[in-house]
């Protein structure tokens, strides 16, 4: 048995450490550890709830809008504020474009190098690459000349001796299976996607003033619409947005999705690797009318799947969400055997790990800053795969069409979805659907404005004097990486208690009191190869298939008088 450590896991958001035990080329045991704590929930205590979106937004700058919108939803829920339909549509456009952009960046810049060997691209035949590209897509950058230029650039880059971000990659690893031409095509699109992402995300700049971290507002959006003014959302803004949506969709349809299917076809064995936890949760997303509590109005449905049973979708009940700290560096008043609902959540950090610098955490009962959320006492996977499965099993026709098409083209059945490859493919399925959906929301917003409804904000309960003495509420949202929930309690105009349960907390959760592993750990222990422990490429594939977002995941917010306890270093 060999102990293997991968720390830092790169090409993710934040700080993640993976430890495994390798036996005979397979992974026998795994530990996922988050090694950063920031304590943002404690910081919210006593502050104006209308400010909470900005604080929680800074939990993460990659999925930069999801906490902000969820926080607004929670505060609006507590205070009984209804967001006007146009404000809701703007939020959909901002959040939808975020997810589309985030997924494409994930595929090319965070995940692709697990499957694509940059060095192998040097031996590709540009003419054959051009043929391959033409056979897959009408995307115009497909000439032999174009690919020869890209190849030349890569060659000179490699020959310069300064490899920059490509230094020490696992190039030449036997697990890389793409032919040189596919590698070259993917490298070209890696570079194109760098430019594409900064163009399309400007939808945020128009509605929120900047990206990352665009501005939001409890009660709606601050960007007023007036077609007759130079300084507001006007016809020029609309035409810019329309252009971005068009370019977003074209890149998704003609580059990302064909590339994903092409790469997947060379790695079909990964459709039976890395499944892990068999339970899936989606809180549903994208209300048509701004009313996210109206579950019938959600584009992606809400629900729970247990034990991979696609014939039954259970209703979601947030009272069943509870968190353990059995393996986490926190204390609960009731001890390590209990789990707490977010309304009663406690965040008292208590570090008991080894004194740094350390070599291994796997010998310790507690090994991470992540808590362990459970639904009905079961670990759950959240994210694009969970959303796609809940939608598929619920009979969501758009999802079924794209999923069935992809499964057919790859020649695999629905069981292939429960895997590392399934996770990566589900992300693509959702991006295809959302890129199209952006057009619908844009058209709906234009129709509203045309009919004279330009209201983006509801100020009825803006003034704290209109608030009840005490109130509590929650907000749910499907972030790029999965189900997100914020729970807020307000008293005398200030935040009394705030808790978040975040996608990467679900997925990166450690062992609970029942000894059950979280999704990262379980996936690494599910039929998982590790051919060369000194070059753990396979670990990166499965971990990256979840798209980790560690700053989000570390459970951080507890406002109720929890003094930060002195930490004892053992």
């Amino acid at each position: 048995m060999a102990k293997v450590v991968v720390d830092p896991i790169t090409r993710i958001e934040g700080h993640l450490r993976i430890e495994v035990q390798e036996e005979g080329g397979r992974i026998a045991n795994a530990w996922a550890s988050s090694t950063q704590f920031r304590g943002i929930e404690t910081i919210l205590e006593g502050r104006d709830p209308r400010d909470a979106w900005a604080f929680t937004q800074r939990i993460c700058g990659v999925c930069t809008v999801v906490h902000a919108i969820t926080s607004c939803r929670a505060v609006e829920d507590a205070l009984g504020i209804e967001v006007p339909p146009a404000g809701g549509l703007i939020r959909n456009l901002v959040h939808g474009m975020q997810t589309v952009q985030d997924h494409v960046i994930h595929f090319y810049h965070l995940h692709a190098l697990d499957w694509v060997d940059v060095v192998s691209a040097l031996s590709a035949n540009p003419a054959a690459t051009s043929q391959l590209a033409r056979s897959l897509s009408p995307w115009p950058n497909n000439s032999a000349t174009y690919f020869a230029e890209v190849q030349d650039r890569v060659r000179r880059f490699v020959e310069s001796g300064q490899l920059g971000i490509f230094t020490n990659g696992y190039w030449g690893h036997p697990a890389y299976k793409l032919p040189p031409e596919a590698n070259l095509m993917a490298v070209a699109h890696y570079l194109e996607a760098l430019d594409w992402q900064r163009d399309v995300i400007r939808v945020h700049t128009i509605f929120g003033g900047k990206n990352p971290h665009p501005n939001f507002l409890v009660g709606g959006m601050a960007s007023a619409i007036n077609l007759e003014d130079t300084g507001t959302i006007n016809a020029e803004s609309f035409s810019k947005i329309q252009g971005m949506i068009k370019r977003a969709r074209r890149f998704v349809d003609e580059v990302y999705w064909p590339d994903l299917l092409a790469v997947a076809s060379f790695y079909k064995e990964w459709a039976s690797i890395g499944g892990g936890v068999p339970n899936y949760l989606s809180v549903g997303e994208y209300p048509d009318n701004g009313q996210w509590r109206d579950t019938d109005s959600l584009y992606f449905p809400r629900g729970v799947i247990m034990d991979r049973n696609l014939s039954e979708v259970l209703p979601y009940d947030h009272e069943k969400v509870k968190e353990y700290v059995t393996s986490s560096w926190y204390d609960y008043e009731g001890g390590d055997g209990v789990s707490l609902h977010p309304w009663d959540g406690e965040t008292v950090p208590h570090y008991t790990g080894p004194e740094p610098p350390w070599s291994y955490l796997q010998d310790h009962d507690k090994y991470t800053w992540m808590k362990a959320p459970r639904y009905d006492d079961r670990p759950m996977e959240v994210g694009p795969l969970a959303r796609a499965l809940v939608a598929y099993a619920s009979g969501h026709q758009d999802t079924r069409d794209v999923v069935n098409d992809a499964l057919g083209r790859l020649g695999v059945g629905p069981a292939a979805l429960f895997s590392t490859l399934g996770r990566t493919a589900a992300r693509g399925v959702e991006t295809v659907l959302l890129a199209k959906k952006l057009e619908d929301w844009f058209d709906a917003l234009v129709a509203r404005v045309r009919s004279g409804d330009t209201t983006t904000f509801n100020g009825e309960y803006w003034d704290p004097s209109t608030w009840p003495r005490s109130a509590r509420g929650y907000g749910f949202l499907e972030a790029a990486r999965g189900a997100l929930g914020h729970w807020v309690q307000i008293e005398n105009g200030a935040i009394k208690h705030y808790q978040c349960v975040v996608p990467s907390t679900w997925n990166c959760s450690p062992r609970d009191a029942n000894g059950a592993n979280g999704p990262y750990e379980a996936a690494l222990m599910d039929n998982h190869p590790l051919v060369d422990p000194t070059r753990p490429l396979e670990i990166l594939r499965t971990i990256h298939s979840f798209d980790p977002c560690m700053a989000c995941g570390v459970h951080v917010l507890d406002a109720e008088g929890s003094e930060v306890v002195r930490v004892r270093v053992q």
């Binding site: 450590v5 958001e13 610098p357």
Partner: protein, 393 residues
Amino acid sequence: MYFPSTHAWSRQETLGEHMERRGVSRRDFLQFCGEICVMLGISQALTPRVAEALQNVRRPSVIWLQLQECTGCVESVLRTADPTIGDLVLDLVSLDYQHTLMAAAGDAAEAALHASMEENHGGYILLVTGSVPLEENGIYLTIGGRTGLEIIREAAEGAAAVIAIGACAHFGSVQSARPNPTGAVGISEIVTDKPVVNIAGCPPIGDVVTATVVHYLTFGRLPELDGDGRPLFAYGARIHDQCPRRAHFDAGQYVEEFDDEGARKAWCLYQVGCKGPATFSPCPIFQWNDHTDWPIGAGHPCIGCTERHFWDTMTPFYKRLPDVAGFGVERNADLFGAAAAIGAVAGVAAHAAATGVHRARQKKAGIPLPVVPDVGGGAPAPSKPSGEEESNG
């Protein structure tokens, strides 16, 4: 559309040789240098000198540490405005260690870091995003089993220049807000034996980061900084003084509630909490995401994110700043400089006062201010009756 460079910059050649091999015309290169001059706020007459300096630089190594943070600053740099400039800047340096983008992970990543630090000792540029948690010997952040504190100390030791990017590296940002549970501090608290440039903002505009690196490469020194370590070329002007909505402030035309009549006419956001009068930032000038827009332009008040401890000093965000009166703004803008030392804006008082004094001197000398009509030999515009001032204060 992306036009890939066919010529990576090799270690042996100067930028001038590199550009020539890339087929960049002299004219395009000079235009790029001219744009840099504009961004850095130096005379365009210096373009030939900038070009000469840039032409002779060699590709330096850059190490980018990500500590206690949210990765928003990395994302911001990925969005740098002009693809040509972005392409050039990506080519300008050898980015040897950068968690979000690098292919290697684990031991292989750490080996790349240490190889670069050894090979380029004393010569690499160190970029840092994120704060350093000091409580409990730094165990709130570890990478590869080592604390953030140990990692930054080691990396800063051999750095030629240290550039702290974003509010976390500047002063600790959101995690350092009261009660600062992890004892988060900015980089300048840790690195004290060499200057630390603070590219302030949560996040900062990516172009300010690239312009600062270009400044260092071009002139062989870091840009001039203000009292808080921020480059003057970006943070030398107050938002309020550069704001396109300033005329509405001067005219007493305010947004009283979001989405009201004033909001739909893009009036001043002061009454709904705008912190522009207390914030030094390039937002209104550089704007965001390829000059698309900026926060006030999109209808939300400035939250003051380039100022130290803004999470405590600028909150509640929707409460208006005290004592920035409406009518008769010239008088009040000057008064602001003297009176700003009160509570919320204490951190920037010195800087604001300097602006006020500067403006007062200009007036005394009879130099017409850009915002005041040149009436009767440069005399300032007559102030409004005091009653109106009070009613709008």
